[in-house]
């Protein structure tokens, strides 16, 4: 009898205590896990910088709906093990409202189940379709899908009369996700993949495998990775005197890669978010104002061009901030709000979330860009 009573009161205590411990009413606690250093630093650094910039900006103007934002930022160095342990720490010790990141698909896939079980919102900044397909109740993503990128690439190839291609991917989650989409979508687009190869993400020379692809009489090469190898592919291909169009994934959306490949980057074709073409968008475009102001703020603070990756952090924070300003800091309410959010203008596109679509973007998020005189310009 007494045990039952005390058990019941304990349970009552737990129920009462839970919302109290979860929310210090004056603070919005947001965790972030990015690959700020390591081989994927080109993703994580702009993400971390952008997020910090957004948080500072929000706090300077009085926080979100009067609440200060507390950002707990972790550097996973692109390692899935570190990402998992940081996520556990953010969920169990810091009790954050939401986690933004991780930067890479491999890490995001590891956190998908973890955050869903712990009922913590995860807004991934990585590309792989599998992050939101099948949908996990608590997991969202703001980077466009790799399947959209593959479709854009194939559509461009059809326009150029390309029917036979070679594919190169890194052995990362992003590379493998992209390869799966290319292999799946190629038959429908009437394109033959003559050869598809994986390379190590630390690769420093790819002339061997490119020799193999060259021997297959392909009309174009697609490379799918986020690592520095993206520049090495370009150099090696031209050094082999292999004169076909080179397509890259949206992982190429950082001018540093084009700069590292120098002349060899000229003419590279890739799908990318509009941030890289912000200045040349028509004046009436719904994203124009936002993109130009983000770009200017980023350049002013960090003295370098922003990338699409930083934009993902911008969008993730924007979506959470929008939700908190409307429904407060209750996890369930924030989650429900994001799931029905539509018409949200972000850097990656216009987001229309639904219970069946936790990405909310369409193929329209991408623009085909090319490299001309060391700059990114729209492909014509």
């Amino acid at each position: 009898m007494t045990t039952k009573k005390s058990l019941a009161s304990l349970a009552l205590c737990a129920i009462l205590a839970a919302p109290l411990s979860a929310a210090d009413p004056g603070v919005v606690k947001i965790g972030a896990i990015f690959a700020v250093t390591g081989p994927n630093a080109n993703l994580g650094t702009p993400e971390a910088r952008t997020l910090q910039m957004r948080v500072d900006e929000a706090n300077r103007s009085g926080g979100i709906a009067g609440k200060k934002v507390e950002l707990i930022l972790k550097d996973s160095q692109g390692s899935t093990e570190k990402a998992v342990s940081f996520a556990k720490q953010l969920i169990e010790e810091d009790d954050v409202l939401a986690i933004i990141g991780p930067s890479t698909s491999g890490e995001s896939m590891k956190l998908k189940g973890l955050c869903n079980d712990a009922e913590t919102i995860l807004v991934s900044c990585a590309a792989a379709e599998t992050i939101v397909n099948p949908v996990a109740r608590w997991v969202f993503k703001v980077a466009p899908m790799d399947s959209f990128a593959a479709q854009m690439i194939f559509a461009t190839m059809q326009g150029m009369g390309i029917r036979r291609i070679g594919v190169l991917c890194s052995n990362s989650g992003f590379g493998q996700g992209g390869k799966a989409q290319l292999l799946k979508l190629a038959p429908g687009a009437g394109i033959t993949i003559a050869v598809a190869e994986d390379y190590d993400k630390d690769a420093t020379d790819l002339t061997g495998v490119l020799t193999k692809i060259k021997g297959q009489n392909v009309q174009a090469v697609v490379n799918w990775s986020t690592e520095p190898a993206q520049s090495i592919v370009l150099k090696n291909i031209r050094q082999l005197g292999f004169d076909v169009p080179v397509f890259q994934s949206h992982g190429f959306g950082n001018l540093a890669y084009a700069a590292a490949a120098g002349k060899a980057a000229e003419g590279t074709i890739f799908p990318c978010g509009r941030i890289l073409a912000a200045e040349v968008l028509p004046a009436g475009h719904p994203q124009k104002k936002l993109l130009v102001s983000y770009r200017n703020a980023y350049i002013a603070q960090f003295n370098e061009e922003p990338s699409t990756f930083g934009g993902h952090a911008w969008d993730a924070f924007g979506i959470i901030a929008e939700a908190v300003s409307k429904v407060g800091t209750d996890k369930n309410k924030v989650r429900d709000f994001i799931e029905t959010l539509s018409g949200f203008v972000g850097t990656a596109g216009i987001f229309n979330f639904s219970p069946a679509d936790h990405n909310g973007l369409t193929m329209d998020a991408f623009e085909m860009l090319t490299v001309k005189n060391g700059r990114f310009v729209p492909l014509r």
Binding site: N42, D205, G208, T211, P228, I232, A260, G262, A265
Partner: protein, 296 residues
């Protein structure tokens, strides 16, 4: 497969192998004179590349490279003086742990001094897109630079270790430090000198491979693993052996790519290496005694 494609595989193997070879040389210099295997050797390459890239914005390429080589050498001296010189007869395991620790230190410091981005020196001749035609196959002129610089290093080191008094004294140090001291050789300054030479040569290697491999703060480890494997395969202490082993591994990898998926490249190369080490543990070109005794 046509003859020109076979030749192209061979040349691509040489391209990869030339990088392994030049990294492998650095391990041998310190080993030859101290018996230490320096796991921070890859970081010297990274430093050489990073410093020269930074300097190349404000001075001609050749001057930037020369300055980077000297500065990397001095950093090698500094590390040896600060962290290694005060140890009396350290055990091999302890030395390995210390050099691994140094490599992490240098890597993290570089991340803060420079950044996380990819940098690359311009190609020494031609550009990213130029290549030389060899009987229908193609090779980047930078590969010839790498091979040339490797050859130069091997030649200079061979002359130094065999024919100069300092070189001979360094070999004596490695064979038996106590006996060397009894003969009046100042072992401590020779160890410092060997770190200078190894770091400077590592720096030069880092400059010459930078256009091909690109340079970023964490490139050292993966390059060092391959370079170390080649140094062991060629016979530790044998610089010519390291170059031959590097080229051999490169060509074997290229051959494996031609018939198997690329993903198996390292498996094939490592399996062959293991076999060689089972049957010739002193390496392909090492002497039977397998003792550190400089260039044979």
């Amino acid at each position: 497969m046509g003859a020109d494609q076979i030749l192209q595989y061979l040349l691509s193997g040489i391209t990869t192998g030339s990088v392994y070879a030049i990294v492998g040389i650095g391990f041998n210099i310190i080993y030859s004179s101290t018996g230490i295997i320096n796991f921070a050797q890859g970081e010297f390459l990274m430093l050489g590349g990073m410093i020269s890239v930074s300097l190349s914005h404000s001075m001609p390429l050749a001057a930037a490279i020369a300055a980077a080589v000297i500065m990397t050498g001095l950093i090698g001296v500094l590390l040896q003086r600060l962290f290694i010189s005060w140890l009396k007869n350290p055990a091999v395991l302890r030395m390995i742990i210390i050099t691994i620790g140094l490599s992490i230190l240098v890597r993290e410091a570089s991340l803060h001094i420079w950044d996380e981005k990819v940098h690359a020196l311009p190609f020494w001749t031609g550009s990213e897109t130029s290549s030389l035609a060899v009987l229908g196959a193609r090779i980047s002129p930078q590969v010839l630079w790498v091979l040339g610089v490797s050859a130069l290093m091997v030649g200079a080191l061979t002359l130094f270790f065999r024919h100069t008094l300092t070189g001979k004294a360094m070999r004596a140090c490695a064979s038996n430090a106590t006996a060397a001291r009894l003969c009046g050789i100042r072992t401590s300054s020779l160890v410092t000198l060997s770190f200078f030479i190894a770091a400077a040569m590592g720096g030069l290697a880092g400059c010459v491979v930078s256009p091909l491999t690109q340079t970023q703060y964490d490139m050292g480890t993966s390059l060092a693993v391959k370079g170390f494997t080649c140094a062991v395969l060629g016979g530790l202490g044998n610089v010519t052996g390291a170059v031959a082993a590097g080229l051999l591994v490169g060509v074997l990898e290229a051959a494996s790519i031609s018939v198997l998926p690329l993903a198996y490249k390292d498996v094939v190369a490592l399996a062959i290496m293991l076999c060689i080490l089972f049957f010739r543990p002193e390496g392909l070109f090492g002497g039977r005694a397998a003792a550190p005794a400089g260039v044979r």
